[in-house]
């Protein structure tokens, strides 16, 4: 076989693959996420006709969970390493940006990427250590991490210890005060979802999926599993940290018990499980459901203990009957509406 023939075959294969992708693209409803995004961009205009602060707060809350859960999904969903301690990076991002904001007055919206990088770097270092174990041992180590950071932050006087630090609220009128954070989270959410789509369709993402199926086989197929999963850990920490940065300024204070509580860490896991681990649309759908559900419980029952009870129950039911989540289960039965198929 001569070289030209080989080249021809490669060219033909390339062309064939291109037609395949084109065919796949035709069925993809790219318009749907775009429309949703445009709607969300236009949403604050409601403030001209009335007071929709509560609606904006809920949307903002949902968007922040989209960022956090999609970030978690990169490690937990794609690579299959379930971390119950990702709120550590939420806290690190929040504290880093919050302290810079308190001391230097730089808005956390500007600092968010930097805070994400700090969290990502920390994630890289922690990942180098904890990703040496897998399965239950990894999950336990992630829990211990939260305990360690909680003690650390509660006793670090520079960041205010257990009482935390209060941050200056912005001087916009009540009507517009939420907008900077709303847009901040919207941009972050869109970016996170886009990045997780890009990762899923890259060689890196394929490697992560191989790791989640069978790490030993992945390793023997020539994937640098150690580097892949540590990188996935760092990337997911980056997004969670970024969300934490803005979250602190939005609440106008940083304190260990707003970042390092069980509900935050379990919510990001639950959102992904509910929506569908390892899918792109899953964390988005999960976030909408969880926020709606939380609001319902807090509004009707008012007690956080019942909220914990209900969250636990939903998680159990989900795990027992729909372990693939909404998107995963629908896709398995080929009933996933086209506009939700973002993968």
């Amino acid at each position: 076989m001569s070289d030209t023939e080989t080249f021809d075959i490669l060219e033909q294969r390339k062309a064939y693959n291109a037609t395949l992708t084109q065919a796949a693209d035709k069925t993809r409803a790219t318009w749907f996420p775009v429309v949703v995004l445009l709607l969300l961009l236009a949403m604050p205009a409601l403030q001209f006709v009335g007071n929709y602060n509560y609606l904006l707060h809920l949307l903002l809350f949902t968007l922040s969970y989209v960022v956090i859960a999609s970030g978690w999904n990169i490690l937990g969903g794609f690579a299959g390493y379930i971390s119950l301690g990702h709120n550590v990076f939420f806290a690190v991002g929040g504290y880093f940006a919050g302290m810079m904001f308190a001391r230097l007055g730089i808005s956390t919206l500007i600092l968010a990427p930097l805070a994400g990088l700090v969290a990502g770097l920390l994630g890289y270092l922690i990942g180098l250590i904890t990703l040496r174990v897998r399965g239950p041992s990894f999950i336990i180590s992630s829990l211990a991490l939260v305990m360690i950071f909680r003690i650390f932050f509660e006793n670090w006087e520079f960041v205010g210890g257990a009482a935390g630090v209060s941050l200056k609220a912005n001087d916009l009128t009540v009507q517009w005060a939420k907008l900077p954070y709303y847009y901040g989270f919207l941009v972050m959410a869109a970016f996170t979802v886009w990045v997780s789509y890009r990762i899923k369709h890259s060689k890196f993402g394929l490697g992560l999926r191989a790791i989640s199926k069978d790490e030993i086989k992945a390793e023997s197929a020539g994937i640098d599993t150690r580097f892949y999963k540590v990188l996935a850990f760092a990337i997911s920490a980056f997004f969670v940290g970024m969300a934490g940065a803005v979250w602190g300024e939005y609440l106008t204070y940083i304190r260990p018990n707003i970042f390092l509580t069980v509900l935050i860490s379990v919510n990001m896991v639950l959102i992904c499980i509910l929506g569908g681990k390892g899918t792109i649309a899953g964390p988005v759908i999960g976030a909408i459901l969880i926020v709606a559900f939380n609001e319902f419980f807090v509004a009707t029952l008012g007690a956080s203990e019942i909220n914990i009870l209900a969250t636990g129950l939903i998680m159990m039911i989900c795990l027992m009957f729909f372990p693939l989540g909404i998107v995963g289960t629908l896709a398995k039965h080929r009933k996933l509406p086209r506009f939700l198929d973002w993968d």
Binding site: T130, G135, M147, M315
Partner: protein, 292 residues
Amino acid sequence: MADLIQILVLGLALGGVYALMGAGLSLVFGVMRIVNLAHPSLIMLGAYVAYWAFRLGGIDPMIILPVALVILAATGVLLYKLVFEREARSAQYSEMTVLLTFALAMVVEGALGTAFTNTQRVTSPDYATDAFFISSVFIPKGQLYAGIVSLSIISALALFLKYSAFGNAIRATTQNRDAAELLGVNVNFVGLVSFAIGIGLAGAAGALVSFVFSFFPAKHWEWIAVLMSLVVLGGMGSILGTVLAAFILSVVAAFVGFFFGATWSTLTFFVALFVVLLVRPQGLFGEKPELA
């Protein structure tokens, strides 16, 4: 010097209680391969049983201990039948069960918090605040009694596992589930019984905890990492290892608390957990590092 002996004594006294708290966790992991994150919340449930018996009936927590054990063992049977049996053939069994027990812990915490609020509770039988004195060293009676009861229960368990036929079946299943099944052991039944025993031990531990620590529903998160550190250091599934680890770590924690302040004493457990997972994931007595 007297100080150091005193700290050693206090550490050992606490170790006895931690040993029983961890023993059930270790048994359940050994037989079922379930990392039961709900174990501490079930200990909490046992503590509440003892608390209400003491508060309403004035019954001594030591006397209520068998009752708590039975109530929790029944809960264990129920949980096994409703939740864990159906997961036995799950493809990602270990992750799945960890997440399930995590959710279960939230359910138990939420239920206890809703029913009894998050107020700090403690039972106060006479011995809880009393102490023996040997020259200048004092031994708190509550912790001493709790330690003795705990070690007796663990010894009874160890004898049962070692010398009874059913105990042998449990140990065989721990060592190799498939081989045990081939040899005619009904592994499902063994699983059910050891799960019930494990959860029952949580109830017994709860009765002891009720007068050793003050407690409130959300406190079990703190215990999770503490107990996990014992089980991991001891070697997952090894009850002897868990007991030893309980004594080692609580003595170390007592010394850390003495030299660096009480805040850092709990940190000992978490750091130990981390270090053991990374340096020797199979722990002191674990046989194979299959989890690593």
